[in-house]
Symmetry: C2
Subunit: 451 residues, 2 copies
């Protein structure tokens, strides 16, 4: 690999210039801004890297960019998944520099999409290009699937993959998105949670009315309190009938892996400004809960008047927003209908309940896989340190699309620093992380061939 790494070393300036152009062309899926240009720009990067069959493929939403490097059908094939869309810049005032004019400060590349996900997918393209340039040929086949809707919940990905199984046929799916562990150590991600987002609304009288009638008229805010208290017990246990029925407990290895993830409780408590965690309280079960515990989170609640001064009213309606996070084998549609039934049975048949946006299916793969081993070795080569194994993460993602629809192991290898500020202002990736990501991507090709 030494030869490849020094090849990469010599091309740093060129990589940066190409990445900066990619960041400049934006591609904001939530507004649709520059999406077509971003897809075309990515095609150019892929073509120049030597990838073949580079194409923009339609979906029911924003298109997918596909490319491949096929050496021999009999060799193992890796699918690299990523996304070319970015979050909106949101509050420009809060950025130290223009989000779409990338710049380097203090060893970091700042710009929208720098970490999420442009530098990370770009590292895979450049790692493979470097490998092929130095070795003359690839010992594996590589396919690229870069979608344009990750930041809006990947609504078209599942059907696209299902309809293109032949094109996407592979032995393993790798993706680089997200960041390292807080400690600065790289990680491997072997699972994600499922999730859906729901809104519940209760109506009371058809108009706001004076609070003095409280002994006589129904108050939808009190009913919402009762409704929510019937769903969620203090401490976090969910009281929806059947909520835990399908939960498949983690294997002994998965649980052991979660326990091995270092937790700096004092630093976490300090950064969140809290005295205790949920669960055991001291944070010792932080990752076990984060990864294995399904949850219903109350993201927002609003009703009546809470503005300046005061108004003595019975609110007309009250709305609550729930984020439901799931673990294997809980199914979003099943849990949603159990929630509906729960509301009906608890006296809230009149509550409106609707899902907002798409749903993610939870997914977790076995730790005991040659593809996990290849990824570990690649990280060790590229980063010079063993990654921490995450049997899952707290967030949701489309892993199940690959794990189930394509039927292949699906492994995340984040290349960004933990303080990447993705989705926020001053998004950035450490230059060092970017170089190491390219190196690890090249190493991954070699390790996959050796596996």
């Amino acid at each position: 690999m030494k030869e490849i790494f020094s090849f990469i070393e010599r091309r740093k300036e060129a990589y940066l210039a190409e990445l900066f152009d990619f960041i400049r062309c934006a591609g904001v899926s939530c507004s649709g801004e520059n999406m077509r240009q971003a897809a075309q720009h990515l095609c150019g990067i892929l073509r120049r890297s030597g990838a073949k069959r580079v194409q923009i493929l339609p979906t029911s939403g924003f298109p997918v960019v596909y490319a491949e490097c096929i050496t021999d059908e009999r060799l193992p094939t890796m699918l690299i998944y990523g996304h070319y869309d970015v979050q909106s810049a949101s509050d420009l005032e809060k950025w130290a520099s223009n989000p779409f004019s990338p710049e380097i400060r203090d060893g970091r590349i700042y710009g929208r999409g720098a970490a999420d996900n442009k530098a990370q997918l770009f590292a895979h393209i450049k790692g493979r290009e470097a490998y092929a340039a130095v070795k003359g040929n690839l010992p594996v086949n590589v396919k690229y699937l870069f979608e344009g809707e990750e930041e809006i919940g990947s609504p078209s990905l599942r059907s696209f993959v299902a309809e293109n199984c032949e094109l996407l046929r592979c032995d393993v799916c790798y993706y680089s998105d997200g960041g390292y562990h807080d400690s600065g150590l790289p990680i491997l991600i072997l699972g994600v949670k499922g999730s859906f987002y729901a809104e519940i609304t209760l109506q009371g009288c058809k108009q706001e009315t004076h609070a003095m009638r409280a002994p006589c008229l129904p108050n939808p805010a009190w009913r919402m309190v009762d409704l929510l208290a019937s769903v969620h017990m203090p401490g976090g246990r969910i009281a929806i009938k059947g909520f835990y029925d399908a939960v498949r407990p983690p294997s002994a290895e998965q649980r052991a892996a979660a326990r091995k993830i270092p937790v700096n409780s004092a630093a976490l408590k300090e950064s969140y400004g809290i005295a205790r965690f949920l669960g055991k309280g001291d944070g010792s079960d932080y990752y076990e809960r984060l990864i294995f515990e399904p949850a219903v989170n109350l993201c927002g609640i609003q009703g009546g008047y809470t503005g300046p001064g005061f108004r003595n009213i019975i609110p007309r309606s009250v709305t609550a927003r729930l984020d439901v996070s799931l673990v294997p084998k809980q199914e979003p549609a099943d849990i949603f209908s159990k929630l509906r039934r729960h509301l009906d049975e608890k006296g809230f048949a009149d509550a409106s309940l609707q899902m907002i946006g798409g749903a993610f299916i939870p997914a977790r793969m076995s730790l005991d896989s040659a593809y996990v081993k290849a990824a570990r070795q690649a990280v060790l080569d590229g980063f010079g340190v063993e990654p921490i194994i995450f049997p899952g993460v707290g967030g949701a993602g489309p892993n199940d699309v690959f794990l189930t629809t394509l039927g292949v192991p699906t492994i995340g290898i984040p290349y960004a620093n933990a303080d990447q500020n993705n989705h926020s202002s001053d998004e950035n990736i450490l230059l060092d992380s970017f170089w190491k990501g390219i190196a690890a991507s090249a190493a991954l090709i070699g390790k996959l061939a050796e596996r």
Copy 2:
């Protein structure tokens, strides 16, 4: 009285002109707009009516307007309480005519303060003036106390009355504020609820954080649900320890009076758009609950994100606003401290709890009083119909200031129609109600002398 009533009949045009000028000069206590002018204008009305010692007396807030007509210290003295301040016009777009340019349409006077409270206090001044003009002398003494802070909760009234007991010494306090029963029948009000308004806030992490951490980090919105559910049982019973301890049940006469108030359940259900009332459900106990049942109303709740689209967050803080309505002998300060203790004991010692605005002490007087009888007869004379006796109302008011501090019976005789729209747009009083109010005010003087 016939002679007096025809005297009033002949002066209708002049009364209207004088009332319209009074409405034009506004006097909005919540903003302070034109308060001094309104007080001075009222002094002019009182002086022209023949009242003596007309003066603007300072309080810790907006001043009080005082005047008197003393015939003989040995005669009974009635104190007429009212307020010269008005609500803000709020949304001008929603008014059919300028709120401070009164006009008559369809037999109603439209304008801010037309019903609440300018026409009503004005009726008392003109009724007494008419009585004195026709009879040559008054058979009772009359004192006027018109405050400028009723619409902001009468924060200075209690201390003003306490410091001016000698000036305000009287045998009975009458006030005309509020409206008739829905049926159009006039009413007498013999009690009010107490109330205070409180805000509770719970903090979570020091910043909004991603919902995926829900299994690990405290969510102040869930804690607020638990907190509120610990205060209020489904159906309305309050679970604060000791909340009901001081409640003095109504007398048999008071309960019987509440039962006699007609309830048009079908019309109420239609107007509120509800299928059932609280309590028995059919509305048969509507007034008993409204008058005798203390309550904690959830006026508003807000936390996290409920705007367009969605954001997967754990809220940073959540706020709830409570209106607590009390019955004799519950004390606002005592109930407030019981609520604080409840929060501390239920695991919410970290919740901030503060009272917003002033508090009203509940007050209820005996039905069996010569002053009630005088008021009934005056209404019968002025309106041509017996009033419905309300042993209390759902709303709070400063009655206790007179009942306890001055130690006199305190009786409300509303002169406005039920659909007066006070505090809303198109506030109005029926011309017919205005004339009858003046007549009843004159009759009240005669009946008090006869009592």
